[in-house]
Symmetry: C2
DNA sequence: GTTGACGGTTCTAAAATAGAACTTTAAGAC
DNA sequence: GTCTTAAAGTTCTATTTTAGAACCGTCAAC
């Protein structure tokens, strides 16, 4: 499958993966949330080649995750800042960090701690149900085809039994 | 930067990205959460080459996200199931899906809906603070170096001012 | 004794990435 | 005036990764 066809899949995960599903995009976004904004700053803090950095920044701008705005005239210089769409990636970034905190730390402990300004405490992110507020786990969730599924739902059952022809 | 050096970075995001930070790993994990378990099932539902599928499954087993267990003897056949470490990836998967639901849907609407078994309602995932229960946003969070940071914190300030030599 | 399922491995061509050098515009030092 | 530096890229070649297809080994069923 080509990268381009990913964003047309009838799957919100696949479409999001088309935007952030590579190593460098996620690391660039990490830097964005740490207030990094300029090409050379990204380049200094990530061991990324200039070529790929330019490429990924362009992609993130194209998808509306970053905005490229001039911060000086003559010579024109730009910086990259998160749009609202980009800021909305925060739960993804935080859940990735949290999983690493739980499963990938060495004996020295966590590389970074997070403090919630509102309540003042060091915290972990918790994912809860928007309706009842209880923490979520995979086993407590049922999935249903939505209006944007590949085919109208009554057909889907049969298609699955006959085998997945076109996917 | 090589893939291998990613998992040694003093950053929980980078270490997690070493495990799941590529297109195919995330799509394979999506299938795992949809109860797909066998090589040929993965191959049928993803347009992945057998070569890469074998490679990624091996990687996920190596990192302890999946377990490879025989489901029949002679001939030996295996299936891949999520470990607890793998099940803990659920918030990452769900936050990725949710971002896609908000920012990447077309006019037809969401491809998939999620129902919470506990309360029975269709829901969205919400990320909240473990301490006060309020929803989290990037701007309400302060970061601090933790015990596993690259260097003891007092030095970090100066190093940053002098420039980032080794990163 | 041939066919088919399953779970891979091996092969070549195409695409992506790494690493380094080069470019452009303009300011500041000498 | 000339030289150096800075920022934000672009261009180049070599290496690595991925795509796409064919092949392999084991067993069961026909």
């Amino acid at each position: 499958m080509k990268w381009d066809s990913l964003e047309d899949e009838p799957c919100s995960l696949a479409r999001t993966v088309a935007v952030i599903g590579d190593r460098w995009s996620l690391l660039i976004l990490r830097e964005c949330f740490l207030r990094i904004r300029r090409f050379d700053e990204f380049q200094a803090s990530l061991e990324i080649t200039r070529h790929l950095l330019a490429d990924r920044l362009k992609k993130l701008v194209r998808f509306g995750v970053l905005r490229r705005i001039p911060y000086q005239e003559s010579p024109k210089r730009y910086e990259y800042i998160l749009t609202q769409k980009g800021l909305d990636l925060y739960p993804i970034i935080m859940s990735i960090v949290h999983w690493g905190n739980i499963h990938m730390v060495d004996s020295r402990g966590r590389p970074m701690l997070h403090q919630h300004k509102s309540c003042g405490k060091m915290f972990d992110p918790v994912m809860v149900c928007s309706e009842c507020g209880e923490p979520l786990s995979a086993k407590a969730v049922h999935v249903h085809p939505g209006p944007g599924a590949r085919r109208p739902s009554p057909v889907l059952e049969q298609r699955t039994k006959r085998g997945l022809e076109s996917r």
